[in-house]
Amino acid sequence: MPAPGVLLIVTVVLIVLALVFFLVSTIVALKQITDGLDETIASVVEIISKSAPVNDVVVDINTNLDVAVGALEGLLVKKAGMVDAIGLVDGLYPGAGAVGFREQGTTTAPRISEVYTRGTLTLARLGREAPVAVLSPNGPALRNAAYGSAAARTLYPADRPTRSPVIGTDSPIQYEARDADSSAV
């Protein structure tokens, strides 16, 4: 066989060997990709099957909670009245009065410290002013649990008495009892 023929055969064999090597390697890589995609598809099918009932369950939970919130708001408005209910909510959570209720809406919140009775304020203090409510949802508690005496000093914002009032028969100021007989003095 002439030399060019031998070289041609060698070249063709080289091409075939290169084709075999690279194509087999590509087939192996594609097989790995297929296996990986099969695992992925199986996991995605699991995700779909597991998350299928989530929507219905969450919708049911939200519906129940909405009904409860609406009922409680309605009860509060029915018993306290719209203005007082908004004032109480705003007293517990400042700013919440502007948002108002879901169904009843809102109205101008009154100044709770001027309008409300002591009992209502006590209820309000169970929220942000109570020492147990230091971690209230709308900021720190109004009452400082560690230095609670500071609140008492606010009763005398200008001139606080330096001593306690003297009482008894030796007191410098004698007060007459209301039901005393003024003619006897």
Binding site: P2, V44, E46, K50, P53, V57, K78, K79
Partner: protein, 85 residues
């Protein structure tokens, strides 16, 4: 004979490198996909595992119903006890 030599040289110096370069490109791209597919597979498996707690939502749903019923009972009692505004 000369033409034969020219054909051999063209095959050896042009066709073989071109074939090798093209096949190597296909192989390298195919191999680069494998790690990405493996990462996607692991992420999907982890996501599926994260959803194992989904059945607990049924417990939450039941407890919410019980709580709402309890709140409704308390509300009914308060509605009876307290006067309207």
């Amino acid at each position: 004979m000369t033409l034969w030599w020219i054909l051999d040289l063209v095959l050896l110096l042009v066709v073989v490198p071109v074939v090798v370069i093209l096949l190597n490109g296909v192989l390298s791209e195919a191999k680069s996909i494998v790690p990405s597919v493996n990462r996607i597979s692991k992420a999907a498996a982890a996501g599926s595992k994260d959803l194992d707690a989904v059945p607990l939502l049924l417990t939450t749903q039941d407890q919410v119903r019980q709580t709402v019923n309890l709140v409704a009972d308390y509300g009914g009692s308060l509605n009876t006890i307290l006067d309207d505004a």
